[in-house]
């Protein structure tokens, strides 16, 4: 089970996340769980693999919004940076961005399932 401590160690802004959930800890954790299962991760992975920049932007943008709502700050920073690069149509190592994003997700999922 994921705990607030796990999230704190991860670097999440717990106070902000809880505020958004009217300090309901269980609800906050539930939302984090939902976020980690979100289909946007898969969409982003597929788009990057296919080098479809437009689809990648859409997926990254959606993911950014979701991650922001649960205040997973380090993850948000990566997704946000990637979104802005894609928005500007810049050349970048998107595969590396995706790898870091998926790693953070895997880390949190491991804590959740651990």
């Amino acid at each position: 089970m994921l705990t607030l401590d796990d999230l704190r160690q991860f670097g999440a802004n717990i106070q902000e996340g809880l505020d958004r959930c009217m300090s309901d800890e269980g609800f906050y954790l539930e939302l984090v769980g939902m976020t980690l299962e979100d289909a946007s991760f898969d969409r982003l992975s597929q788009a990057v693999a296919a080098d479809d920049r437009k689809a990648a932007f859409e997926a990254a943008h959606a993911l950014k919004g979701i991650v922001a709502n649960v205040s997973l700050t380090p993850l948000y920073a990566q997704v946000s940076e990637m979104t802005e690069l894609l928005r500007g149509g810049q050349e970048a190592d998107y595969g590396a961005y995706l790898a870091r994003i998926l790693e953070m997700r895997a880390d949190l999922l491991a804590r959740q399932n651990g």
């Binding site: 505020d19 958004r20 959930c21 009217m22 609800f27 539930e30 939302l31 939902m34 976020t35 979100d38 946007s40 859409e58 943008h61 959606a62 950014k64 919004g65 979701i66 922001a68 709502n69 649960v70 205040s71």
Partner: protein
């Protein structure tokens, strides 16, 4: 109904329904969780789904929360579609976005507010939603109540409020209160149907709205066929009337629609707005019945007449109770023979007002005819007269028929016959002792019913005189079939025939007309010997007027009668 049901069956108790259009499950979950304590939540994960829900449930959806990035269409497109469709345009939409550029665009497209992403604290979301729902419900109520359903113009109450508001903003601006009326609108409705009448009103409303849009002011439909305009002072009233007129060609039916307008120019702003429009109405009523489009300007004398009228109406019940209405009698003489012979008398109402003195019947009779009080007054005069005829009969053995006035409204009273018969019976009179004077104009509307009633009274034995002949619009064709025994020429005929350059041709023609339909001809308002002799020469049968006697109170008239009775035959020559 159970108490619980009553609790629920109230607009304020219904849970408002909010449509959340958001494809991300996490976001939907957050919003649902946030709202479900206070609202019923309808989720939609895509644009098409959202539009379908709106189409099916628009009446019960209070608000849409709209995400811009949806899988099937962009949120802005949804917004545009809703705002372009009058069925859905009223639905308030709050856009949820992380993009501050999009916020402006959304507000311009008709979004009522936005919620930023990441979401703010739940209290903030809830407060924004609560406020939006309240505001938009108030706006809907306002829209329903401020407008007249037929024409879409303001209704009177809101019009007055906005007029007062304009006064507050423009304290020193001279303003006009205008009233527009459709002449004889009810006959338009009667002849061509309500749908046609409605169309005419809508057309006038459109034109009036165009007018105030181009030159300033506000307009409302105040009641059935009346429109009010409040605008900065101007002087081109004929022009305004022209602009709002619905012309025959335009209407297509060839019917002539005539408008009249009352103007209270440079209105006194210390008066209530309602009073200002009362004055414009007076000005409009003053030109009622004009043949062409016409406008009237208010002047002070109109209010004075109106105030007097109000006072008289207020004083009427007490006047009747306290016997302030007196019956005066004026004789009518038969002039066919060598010597005028007393023919009958007319009972006339006089009002001895405790503060105003004698009030002219020319003031109070038309007033009471308009508001129906005449019915009570007429009955009072009839019963006083019947009692007087009885006294003359019993005390002096005199038998003089007396005519009383029967107003149009009396003739529509189903109890009229019973009332008159009771008066005759209670006073031991014959029907022939009372003559009923019915004005010519009484026959103009509901002619068949009025004629039938008069016929019935006449068949009982009452004699009928047609009063004020020449002022109404009798068809000469029907004159011979009307149930009457005499024509009373309107006083105005005598006056104009003998005034200035004497021209008695019309008078002569009417006297011949009476002969032709074989009824007696009575001339009223005869004042001089010259007039009496000329009328006699023309073949007039009966004369009434100051030449013989003014109207007299009962006691004096009784003396007049005794003197007449004592006069030897030859001495009555005047």
């Amino acid at each position: 109904m159970t108490t619980q049901m009553q609790e629920l069956f109230r607009p304020s108790a219904e849970r408002r329904r909010i449509l959340i259009v958001e494809d991300e499950p996490v976001n939907r979950r957050i919003l649902t969780r946030c709202l479900e304590g206070s609202y019923a939540v309808i989720p939609a994960a895509a644009g098409g789904e959202a539009l379908e829900i709106v189409r099916d449930q628009i009446e019960t959806i209070s608000l849409m929360l709209l995400d811009l990035h949806l899988p099937d269409m962009h949120g802005l497109e949804i917004l545009q579609r809703l705002k372009a469709d009058p069925r859905y345009a009223r639905l308030p939409v709050i856009v949820m976005t992380a993009d501050s550029q999009a916020e402006v665009e959304c507000l311009n497209l008709g979004a009522i507010d936005f919620i930023p992403k990441p979401y703010p604290r739940q209290e903030v979301i809830l407060a924004r939603i609560r406020r939006t729902v309240e505001l938009s419900e108030d706006r809907d109520i306002l829209r329903w109540t401020e407008r007249d359903q037929l024409t879409g113009l303001y209704n009177k109450d809101f019009f007055y409020r906005y007029a007062v508001m304009l006064d507050d903003y423009h304290k020193d601006l001279a303003t006009d209160a205008l009233v527009l009326d459709v002449n004889r609108f009810h006959t338009l409705n009667d002849r061509f149907g309500k749908a046609y009448g409605d169309k005419v009103l809508q057309r006038i409303a459109e034109k009036a709205l165009e007018l105030v849009r181009s030159s300033g002011g506000i307009v409302c439909r105040s009641e059935a066929d009346k429109f009010f305009i409040y605008c900065p002072h101007r002087t081109d009233y004929a022009d305004i009337l022209e602009k709002v007129s619905v012309s025959a060609e335009e209407d297509g039916s060839g019917n002539r629609i005539r408008l009249r307008m009352g103007v209270y120019a440079e209105a006194d702003k210390s008066l209530d707005i309602e009073r200002r429009f009362d004055r414009a109405k007076m000005a409009s009523d003053a030109v009622r019945g004009s043949a062409a489009n016409a406008f009237g300007l208010y002047d002070r004398s109109m209010s004075e007449a109106e105030l007097l009228a109000e006072q008289l109406i207020e004083d009427f019940p007490a006047a009747l109770r306290e016997g302030q209405f007196r019956v005066y009698y004026q004789p009518k003489f038969d002039i066919r023979g060598d010597v005028p012979a007393l023919y009958s008398a007319e009972a006339l109402a006089r009002w001895a007002h405790p503060r105003m003195g004698m009030v002219s019947p020319g003031v109070f009779i038309p007033l009471f005819e308009r508001n129906g009080l005449i019915q009570a007054l007429d009955y009072h005069i009839w019963s006083e007269t019947a009692a007087q005829i009885r006294r003359w009969k019993e005390a002096q053995g005199l038998r003089l028929p007396v005519s009383v006035n029967v107003s149009r409204i009396d003739l529509l009273d189903p109890l009229l016959k019973d009332k008159l018969c009771a008066l005759v019976a209670d006073n031991g009179l014959d029907y022939a002792d009372m003559i009923l004077e019915v004005t010519e104009s009484a026959y103009t509307e509901e002619a068949a019913q009025i004629t039938e009633t008069v016929k019935e009274l006449r068949s009982l034995g009452f004699r009928i005189e047609m009063d004020d002949f020449g002022t109404g619009y009798s068809s000469l064709n029907t004159l011979s079939t009307l149930p009457i025994d005499a024509l009373k020429l309107d006083m105005q005929f005598i006056r104009s025939a003998f005034a200035g350059r004497r021209d008695t041709r019309l008078l002569q023609a009417i006297i011949r007309l009476a002969e032709a339909v074989e009824v007696a001809c009575i001339a009223e308002g005869v004042e001089t010997k010259e007039q009496a002799e000329a009328l006699k020469a023309m073949g007039c049968d009966v004369i009434q007027g100051y030449y013989f006697s003014p109207p007299l109170p009962a006691a004096e008239f009784t003396r007049f009668l005794s003197e007449e009775k004592r006069k030897p035959e030859g001495a009555r020559e005047r």
